[in-house]
Subunit: 467 residues, 2 copies
């Protein structure tokens, strides 16, 4: 593992930015996640790199004009490193000494003990977070989505293939597929309900035997709670990324909502996988929490059942087993339009843990490059839906309501489960998402003896389908 | 359809560049396909936009300094339009009057009748094609691969699902999936045989019942003959592209070889589709033949069997049925290392027609955006393997040798076919590709009363797997 716990994780460190010292903040001085943002005077052009601290964004590009961050001299050359268009080059050398130097330097200038020395200079480049606009935290040319939760795969498999939920390859291969990069959108972007083809009715006698598929608004719109890894350094086409080096290529993590149109998915996905069911939108949270910030929250990889096969040698090593996981708590909240109108708080739909993933991110990345496929700085690798053992740890509505398709025929049944609508405090019921529903994903890490750090939020409100 | 046959397609037009008047050239003055290239003095930095004519490349960026192409005044502003980094902006407004003006203007300065007026100026910006280097003709952020040949789908389906070769969705949905953009490589790039996971032996008794999957070099390496469409103008996320407008979004076509590792594919592709079996490399030809150049070679869409379902209304209109196809002849050649050493010409493996595709490119694009998925200038949409009715029109080795897997158990059988190795003139046999094999794809259009135009070549030589 590339990072050890060091003095930058000291829980006693405090900042002269008071909001960073709130014990409930996601963004204490120990976190310092990266973002791409537009300061208030540059509406909409999110080409500055920044760092979130407390309730503020520190503009690294502007700061570097007056205070050196990496080098010895402030000015345009220093600032250029933190210009949005140079992000790929910054990322490609971020992991290791450079990233550590930036982290240590920013902690130094933001530390409560150095208030007198730095506050007046730094404050000019601090913006209230609500005054800023955000893009996805990296420009991803390629986006890959995995399927790394055994619990999710088992639940979904049980619905669609009751006799054979887990396919023979699952415990050998971190299953993944390519997503659409163009439709990755920043948190807060409205999600328009997609139109698409849906399967013919299962019972042809009800509508005449010639009934074909129909085209119309998705009626089984779902979210998927996922964690994303952003690539720092890439690999050349034809080269691989050995497991021992995989984490050197990961810049950090963020939250991802891989919106899914289940009715479109069911009809289109054979034989080449999900396509239009997924590529209408993928929401990503604004901040990349660096691997270094996450060092105190590493945990063992998933404990495989003794009867499970061992991963092949290229996907297996002792470090990965011992500390390849991340102990991140993940929560999904929902607020209907009616709830918001009536001033009600969002209700929590699930709380799960990223440590429950069957495959580690390092294994996913190593597998991805095992055939020589080339990664590039900024590429996004998402984990697939994060679901846990228990019902309240299921990371999508398909699982929570157990395929809440009122039209399924024959009805979907699985041992010990039945279709269960979600009841909202307004009395509204949900089997899938309704127009006006807002989905909010949150993630955070807590450990005795360390400062809590978090990922912020990944949000989206469903808008009606276009005519 | 956006383009009519006009005076730019006049077969009597000749150029003062003699090689463009060769009746066998792919690149007469009626073609003028676009490319991204490096002129001889800028080795490897392919950031100039050019046009191929005869055996030469005309550097549009340099030409614009001395001769206006679009505007009235030559110079840096005019040249900037044709700088590689500005390609997306050029493409986004290329279809329509701008592209037509460029085509007409270039025909004017290259016409034999205008030799005296333009040759001396233009020659300074002409480079012999063998002195140039080429990148893929557009920078594709996203790459989508379809599966639009019913013959290919039927052949492959017969091998893997003998009782059920064509799935119920096939004739309703242009099936597609996302490919990997980072591993799109220009013609001529060596293709390194990928490593990957392969299924456990089918007969466990032969190796003990605990035999699991293995990891090693692909032993069923294949090519796939495809046609690619490059997006000119995109659409905003959430908007669709109606069928009647689809071709306004397509800049032109090129050749694509979607290299495939069949053993990796067989083991990994359920349930989310092909992944590492495809993303180690996709070769693309250097030239985009514009929609305008292709106008004389349009043909009706595939004639569906009367028993087939009609496409849903969003995928159907009269123009598409009448002229949604392209009459392009496609050929695949192979030369083994031994053949090249002995000075033998490549042998032709197949000759097929793009007019045999079940779905048109316009239908593929309209379907792709039907859920609001956004296209961007430069995006690549490939057709999937182009196979025809007859054996010699099959577009991949999997079909030509009928799954030439000597280890298949039970042996693959289908009515009227059997596994057939390909015999090379050296006596070598092939069921899949061997190290040192070169695959060459060619494509061209011919029609009585018009000049032949072509796509050039899409080539790649297989290199041994890395240790």
């Amino acid at each position: 593992m590339p990072y050890r716990i060091d003095e930058t994780h000291d829980p006693k460190l405090e900042s002269w930015i008071e909001s960073a010292n709130d014990p409930n903040t996601d963004f204490p001085i120990q976190n310092l996640p990266l973002c791409r943002f537009a300061p208030p005077h540059e509406h909409g052009l999110c080409d500055h790199l920044g760092v979130r601290i407390g309730d503020t964004i520190l503009d690294l590009q502007e700061l570097a004009y007056t205070l050196p961050i990496v080098g010895d001299t402030p000015g345009p050359a220093e600032a250029d490193m933190f210009a949005g268009e140079n992000e790929p080059s910054l990322l490609s050398s971020f992991n290791g000494p450079l990233g550590h130097a930036i982290r240590a330097r920013l902690q130094h200038v933001l530390a409560a003990t150095n208030r007198g020395k730095f506050e007046s200079i730094v404050r000019e480049n601090l913006h209230a977070v609500e005054d800023c606009e955000f893009d996805p935290p990296a420009v991803s040319r390629d986006y890959t989505d995995f399927y790394a939760s055994l619990f999710h795969a088992t639940n979904v498999g049980s619905m669609f293939r009751p006799d054979n939920p887990i396919l023979p390859n699952y415990k050998h291969i971190p299953i993944g597929y390519h997503g659409r990069a163009s439709s990755i959108v920043p948190s807060g972007t409205p999600i328009i309900r997609p139109l698409g083809q849906k399967a013919p009715p299962d019972d042809p006698s009800s509508t005449g035997s010639s009934a074909g598929p129909s085209f119309g608004p998705c009626s089984m719109l779902d979210y998927e709670l996922e964690v994303g890894a952003v690539i720092a350094r890439g690999n050349e086409l034809g080269n691989t990324i050995p497991l021992a080096e995989a984490e050197d290529h990961i810049l950090g993590l963020c939250l991802v909502n891989d919106w899914s149109a289940r009715d479109l998915q069911k009809w289109e996905y054979q034989p080449l996988g999900p396509f239009l069911a997924k590529n209408f939108a993928t929401t990503i949270s604004p901040y990349i929490v660096t691997m270094e910030a996450l060092a105190p929250f590493r945990c063992p990889a998933f404990t495989r059942d003794p009867a499970d096969p061992r991963p092949l040698p290229y996907l297996s090593n002792e470090n990965n087993e011992r500390a390849g996981g991340f102990d991140i708590t993940l929560e999904v909240y929902l607020a209907s339009e009616q709830m918001r109108t009536r001033g009600m708080s969002p209700i929590r739909l699930s709380r799960g843990g990223f440590k429950d993933m069957y495959w580690t991110l390092a294994q996913m990345l190593t597998h991805h490059a095992s055939n020589g496929c080339n990664m590039q700085p900024g590429d996004l690798i998402a984990s697939g839906t994060v679901s846990g053992r228990t019902r309240d740890a299921r990371g999508c509505m398909l699982e929570l309501t157990w395929n809440g398709d009122p039209f399924a025929n024959p009805p979907v049944k699985a041992p010990g489960t039945s279709r269960t609508p979600i009841e909202l405090p307004t009395g509204e019921k949900r089997v899938f998402l309704a127009d006006g529903d807002e989905v909010i994903i949150r993630g955070y890490c807590e450990r005795e003896g360390f400062r809590r750090i978090g990922f912020g939020e990944c949000r989206g409100i469903i808008q009606p389908a276009r005519a």
